[in-house]
Amino acid sequence: MSVAAPETGLKFLQCNGCGKLYVPPKYLCTQCDQDDFSEVFSKGAGEVYSFTIIRMPFEEFAEEAPYAFGEIKVNNENLVVPGRFTNEQEKAVKIGSRVSFVKRDGCINWFQLA
């Protein structure tokens, strides 16, 4: 994996039993049945697997709408994670767009379009 510092990296959970990598949260490894995980952090370079523009969110996100939401395929870890985009412009996000990880804010993984 492309290791990054905990402050700047995209967080994954790695099973301490078998080494399988997961997108958090994960409570029990379904490959080896262990519940012991380590946090690991990736640089999070990837590409957009699919995206949408959410125009009718629920109350908490109403003021942010419309906003793009995507599933991002992170290259080195070969895992898809949900994410939003810091520098989105109307129609800028496409399937296959290259992105880099910027930060995690609350539950949101923020990416930047390359």
């Binding site: 997108v23 958090p24 949260p25 697997y49 699919s50 995206f51 949408t52 523009i53 959410i54 125009r55 009718m56 969110p57 629920f58 109350e59 908490e60 996100f61 109403a62 942010e64 906003y67 939401f69 995507g70 599933e71 895992l79 898809v80 994670v81 949900p82 939003r84 399937i95 609350g106 539950c107 949101i108 993984n109």
Partner: protein, 391 residues
Amino acid sequence: MRDVAVIGIGTTNFGLLGEMTVEEMGVRAFSDAIRDAGVEKKDIEALFLGNFTAGMLQGQETLAPMIAYSLGLRENIAAVKVEGACCSSSIGIRLGYQLIASGVHDLVLVGGAEKMTTASTARATRALSAAMDPVSESHTGYTYPGFFGLVANRYMYEYGGTIEQMGMVSVKNHNNSVSNPRARFRHRITLEEVLESRLVADPLKLYDCCPMADGAAALVLCSLERAREYSKKPVVIAGSGMSRGFRTTHETINDKGTMLSLPCTVSAAKEAFGMAKLQPGDIDVVELHDCFTIAEIVDSEDLGFFERGKGGRAVQEGLTQVDGKTPINPSGGLISKGHPVGATGCGQAYEIVKQLRGEHENQVRNAEIGLTHNAGGTGAICAVHIFKRGF
């Protein structure tokens, strides 16, 4: 295992029932089903009620025993709420089926009730997102229209499907419910109206999305050996499939390598078809979970009616029209009949039973075998039931 039949059906209309409490909707649908079956209330041994949002939107729980009391059912009864988001009331069909098939009970009531339209769209959307994982999905600004927007964009990218094909699902389902007195929408729409409606979650527009609705639906289930005491037209549950899928969109993609299939649909369908010893080509009429137009297309592929990537073209070619090879959602479906989430599964069964009895307002000719498909969460749960004439 004993055969199980539907001997009674009941429902409210689906739509704007703001003057009724959710309990009243449930009581009306269940009592309608009891009257239709002609059973004595004292003989009913269990009640399952599907509901998803009453706790959040009305602050109302403990609905199942309250409804059992209001109906005047006997005191020694298990009256249980079942919850699996938009799949809630199909869980009741499954559990009622199992209790009767195994010989524990002879007569079980199953149904669902939901009251949604008196809440604002933003508040109801939030309640529905309770079916998502908060940590990775709902607290990031993700919504259900967003989920299907992702599916739609990927479907167009991989298969060359078009937004027009999706729009044709909406046109078809609106046409279908013109004659359905239980439907929320009774008007035709044109493809242009769908395409010109406002965007909700790109590329999906307003008419690609099912509406919120209030409503309730109920069934009386009975062992087939006793069904003929009550009903001249019992409808047998030939197959019951139920599954858990994935917690989230990204876990589905990471485990299955695609988001153009709901694995829970595939596994529930496999179980139901296996139990019924039937193939997709044997099904005469389908009510499936068209919460969004793209969902109908993907579901029709997952259920085995069309090859992968061909569901959009099937709609375009008219194969899913009421007189087509595989009639899908002749009731209007979730998109036009409406989607009172916890009642939807039993509402689909209501429509299929009417079809198999030959009593539907939008009748599929000679329908003998029907299928319902009801899903909940971000592909977390699914039920598929296959019904056939028992007369």
